[in-house]
Symmetry: C2
Subunit: 350 residues, 2 copies
């Protein structure tokens, strides 16, 4: 971090074909649904007729979604894939393939792109995802990453945002706000580094927060657990923009309200400490911070017994009627309306 590499091969010296050959080197098909991957006008997949196919896509822009002065390219590649896998997990489904398109300015060497792909390939390997295609081109400024993910599931297993019903329990799968705490720490150190480059940042004690920011994990383990426990959530979403924004999506699309209990929202102890340092209420990190990539779902109360002994599942509230609206019940037992103040790419860039 905070340094430049010495080796440099210009991408223009390789040409597009050679570049694609090099970055797709060593890719082996892992999924039985993949018939034919990289190398023609289109990839070819064969799904079982009983399975439905899921598709989601994300576009990441340098200077808007990531800053390369404190995000190593390998982590960026890993995270870009995980963010997409998380969208498929959020439908209670299994991701199977991705396409990766890059626009690269001539600031980037081949070695830099190779590092990015190492992260992409590592994320794919972890979840047996096939990289089946993409497009690699130049940009006039910066790096742009566009990933599309495909997945599969039996139709009766797919969970949308619109199925939450009154009295359902609201569940999340891990502590919230840590990725945002990690981001604040990285940004603070970047400012220090800009003024005094000789001072190397000391992040000891904060490793967990940095990992949550730089190397998030899609909760596909939760999808497996739900399957094993024979639970199909009534609604589900992944927490990319903050708990506040996501629960509003579920309430809005399910036409319901909710009570979320401040005292139940899981927040890591170091995240609490960072929030205090920055003089921000830790609940704000959880509600508005974003990039947690935990799952947020609702279950029928009759399923509660199946999850109550498992630490992965944290019940943080329950669904109310629509007239109640979405409310945070504070530790002082007052009800505050939840509003969405998550990431907004358009405002970030003003």
């Amino acid at each position: 971090m905070f340094e430049k590499r010495a080796n440099r091969t210009e991408i223009s010296d390789l040409g597009e074909f050679k570049l694609i050959d090099l970055i797709t080197e060593g890719i082996e098909i892992q999924q039985e649904t993949t018939q034919y991957g990289v190398g023609d006008d289109a990839a070819v997949l064969q799904f079982n007729g009983n399975e439905q196919v899921l598709v989601s896509t994300d576009l990441l822009v340098e200077g808007v979604h990531f800053h390369l002065d404190y995000v190593p390219l390998r982590h960026l590649g890993y995270k870009a894939v995980m963010v997409n896998l998380s969208d498929i997990a959020a439908m209670n489904a299994q991701p199977t393939q991705i396409t990766v398109s890059l626009a690269i300015s001539n600031r980037f060497s081949f070695e830099a792109i190779q590092e990015l792909y190492e992260g992409i390939k590592l994320a794919c390997k972890k979840h047996k995802i096939d990289l089946i295609g993409g497009d690699t081109t130049s940009s006039t400024s910066g790096l742009i990453i566009s990933i599309t993910v495909l997945g599969k599931a039996l139709p009766e297993k797919i969970v949308k945002r619109n199925g939450a019903r009154e009295n359902d329990l609201i569940v999340t799968t891990g502590d919230l706000g840590s990725a945002y705490a990690g981001l604040l720490l990285l940004e603070r150190e970047r400012k220090v580094f800009e003024k005094t480059p000789e001072v190397q940042p000391d992040f000891s004690g904060f490793e967990y927060l940095l990992e949550r920011q730089l190397k998030p994990e899609a909760r596909l383990d939760i999808v497996s657990k739900l399957h094993d426990l024979n639970i199909i959530p009534t609604s589900m979403i992944d927490i990319s923009d903050g708990l506040g924004s996501e629960i509003l999506h579920i309430c809005h699309q399910s036409k319901v309200g909710c009570h979320i209990y401040e005292s139940k929202i899981p927040i890591d102890i170091v995240t609490n400490q960072v929030a205090e340092d920055f003089r921000i209420h830790p609940i704000t990190f959880a509600l508005n911070g974003g990039e947690d990539y935990q799952l947020l779902f609702t279950i029928n109360p009759t399923d509660y017994d199946k999850i109550k002994d498992d630490d992965s599942f944290i019940v943080i509230g329950h669904i109310m009627d629509e007239a109640t609206g979405a409310q945070l019940i504070t530790t002082a037992d007052t009800a505050i309306p939840i509003t969405a103040q998550g990431w907004d790419g358009f405002r970030n860039n003003q």
Copy 2:
């Protein structure tokens, strides 16, 4: 063209949700394979178990792939979709769904993005394609469009680049080089406009070339015709980078050589005239110009009788053994090796 619109709504005033609501307004599902489109973490598709699924993706960057000073946004949207549909046509398959991701700088108003989407929707409507998802975010500079297309075909109908065999006939589906001629004309007028903005360009007589550049059509009609004629090409590709580059892909992947006859390559009469004006040999337009989006395919000679009376099919050469290499046989009956000099995003940007 060459003008600015008066109405302007800032995208940041709308916010992402409202923007997505507005641009996805009026989208109706056309394909029986689409179960659920825009509005959740992922779209859901259901393919017939006999069909295979095709996936392709393209990334278009302002200043590299298009210049908005002479490409109207509506045309850009239309073309961005067609380019992707063409990739599915090039596999002898039927496109069914697209996702569209945009990164937009704050230079663009909502009205501008609406125009872009009008073109996207028009292209979708023409071929009954469902727009099932995407991602809309800000960019630090310029416009970036990432489209992923899905399609379907029976496995035995899918045509790759690697099936050409010695003696197969090489066929294309319309005149080549016109899109490039259109591009040169637009660029010339842009330079005139920069110096003397009061002079409006006069493109009369060149409408066909401009249309080929600004509003290309994916040759899905050819896919239907091949089906009706009961022809399955032995190899196929679409001509996006110029005939030279594409025939080399087929030869390389099929491990064969070829003879292409200069006299047989279809070139429009006005394209010939523009080439003369620019003092470039018209065959260079066809070989290296690119963006024609005609199909290039090979058929077994026994299929010749089925196509010989149809003007849509133009036989331009035949497949040779690998040792011969890929050669252009000129009108003077000399053999010149074909080299790839098509579009190269990386060099364009140096």
